[in-house]
């Protein structure tokens, strides 16, 4: 019995890891087709007005855009394998460096948003499911729908207009100018993630400054997925409350509150882990909007800037990085899920 279980888990993980390769390949191909095969080439899109035709053609040849498509496709795939995502047109930076310098801000924003969403969403969902069709359920469900229905930039607008000023909270950037300057001057930016760096530095002024900047953007982004957690936990509670083992526990005379706490709640939370992986994709999309709203120096903000510059290489590189991140996160979630729930492995 134990043998077959421990035997199938590694096999499942191996299968899942092997599946990542075609998955990434398909996404890369999709990105390539959308951005490269489409009419209009990157060089004239970015530098069209600035150089004459001859100079444009030289640039195109130098960058390989005059090669046959199949050759370009191969070059693209092999450079991604070497983790080389190219150099941007507009500001001549390595895409990987852009990712390193700005990815940290996106990471801390999404992590903080996740924490806020879980802290708000799970308790609210439990209450709504437990007291189905009562006033708290209706209020919580409407709240859940509203958090989903309100666009990020509208929530951001409301927070900036009505909350930021009275509380004296900043609405732009990830940290004050001083913090950024001194952190860099004193060589304290070890991890390139400002949030982690300030905690490592142990300076309470920097920590406070960074957390203050983080609060409103993280709340805005967190509210977006908080509604998803409310809905999910609520539906799961409804379904587990109808299951046989809950009925059996009730039949044995265990009090309703104990049954919900000890039997229903726990099992209702398992699917949340699966959905966290799916939410990551939603969160990345939301991060782009949150970063624009709060002028947050993250990858999404850079992506929008490069799009406005029509910098194909940068857009392609950043999108590729996002895609790989999503696939890897979903791999991680599937493995964690298989560890927790044995049914997934078979």
């Amino acid at each position: 019995m134990t043998g077959s279980r421990s035997g199938s888990l590694p096999r499942y993980i191996l299968q899942r890891v092997l599946l990542v390769i075609p998955m990434i390949w398909v996404i890369l191909t999709l990105v390539f087709i959308v951005l490269r095969v489409a009419p209009g080439d990157p060089v004239s899109a970015a530098l069209g007005g600035k150089l004459n035709d001859e100079a444009l053609d030289q640039r195109r040849t130098a960058l390989g855009f005059n090669d046959p498509l199949i050759q370009q496709y191969w070059d693209y795939l092999s450079s991604v394998v070497r983790l080389d995502f190219g150099t941007t047109f507009s500001d001549n930076q390595k895409v990987l460096e852009v990712v390193r310098d700005n990815g940290g801000a996106t990471l801390s924003l999404t992590l903080a948003a996740f924490v806020i969403a879980l802290l708000l969403g799970i308790p609210l969902g439990l209450v709504a499911g437990r007291y189905r069709d009562t006033v708290p359920d209706v209020v919580i469900r409407v709240f859940g729908i509203l958090t989903y229905a309100a666009p990020i930039f509208f929530v951001g607008f409301l927070l900036q207009a009505y909350v930021a000023k009275p509380l004296g909270l900043p609405t732009s950037g990830a940290a004050g100018v001083e913090t950024v300057f001194y952190m860099e001057r004193d060589g304290l930016n070890k991890t390139h993630v400002l949030l982690f760096d300030v905690f490592l530095s142990g300076n309470s002024y920097y920590i406070e400054d960074v957390l203050k900047h983080l609060l409103l953007p993280a709340l805005t982004l967190g509210l977006l997925i908080c509604g998803v957690f409310i809905r999910l936990v609520r539906v799961n509670i409804l379904q587990t409350m109808q299951s046989d083992y809950v009925e059996a526990a009730e039949a044995r005379g265990i009090s309703t509150s104990k049954v919900t706490r000890r039997h229903a709640f726990r099992n209702a939370l398992v699917p949340v882990i699966t959905v966290i992986g799916l939410q990551f994709a939603l969160l990345l999309g939301g991060a782009v909007l949150t970063e624009s709203t709060f002028n947050w120096p993250g990858l999404g903000q850079r992506l929008v800037e490069y799009i406005n510059d029509r910098d194909y290489v940068a857009v392609q590189g950043i999108v590729t990085v996002f895609a790989i991140a999503v696939v890897l996160i979903s791999l991680l979630v599937d493995i964690v899920n298989a560890l927790i729930d044995p049914r997934v492995r078979y």
Partner: protein, 312 residues
Amino acid sequence: MRKFLKILAKPFTETAGLARWMLVIGLAITAVFVILAIFAPLLAPYGFAQASADGVKFPKAGAPSGDHWFGTDRLFFDVLSRVIWGARTAIEVVILSIVICVAVGVPLGLVSGYYGGWVDRILVLIMDAMFAFPSFLLAIVFSFLLTGLLGGTVLAVALSLSAIYVPQYFRVVRNTTVSAKEAAYVEAARAIGASDFVIMRRYLFGNVVQSVPVLGTLNAADAILTLAGLGFLGLGIQSTDAAEWGHDLNRALADAGSGIWWTGLYPGLAIVLLVTGLTLVGEGLNETINPTLRRRRLLPVVMSGPAAREER
């Protein structure tokens, strides 16, 4: 005709309590916006890019007043008019993108599920990859490309939105086709010599499209948000071509700190209301169609004898 009405009334007759209320409220909200969209030229006091009337220039970022109920923005435009015209843009884009999604996703799903084999495998792989990709990023990439090709038109944005939702329709239709094609009535049809096309059109189609309306309304809600998001980033419809709520909010963001609340509040509320309305319709339909969530109206059970207990 009666049968059709019966199907239409099904969500109302089969739901009770909260689910029914959600459905009714959702339909009412959606209807208001559809009316605004259809009659925008009659209902809006001014044009969406009109900065003066009768030779008098509108105030710049003027507060709400008798002439301008929702105030005016920094470009001298009337906010109320832009909100009403924005409903037309939103509904146009959403209807167009859902039509594209159904027209592409349903046939692909039917063919893929019915024939199976390597075509099915490749399509599933592509669709899964698209589905796994962060949908808003997908929309950004597609609109980056399509607005480059077609300009910031309704069609370009609708196509970018379709790219996100086609995989969902494909998936649902394909999976139901795979299970439905094993049914006895399909085998019977095949036995009497029906061609593959006839089987798909007459026998499978009706059975696999049932979940499309729910998907459609829920996607419509999401599409409104995505459209506004693209507009906010400046990747959607150009503001001189049409009024678009997301783009208006982008311009309003600069006002947030300076006490000018009306330029952002009203377009934002319009988005929230319409998305809420569509979500309520979708959820109401979902509770009707998904039997695990459905709570039918129960008739009280009267049991005789001393052991009679109230039904739970």
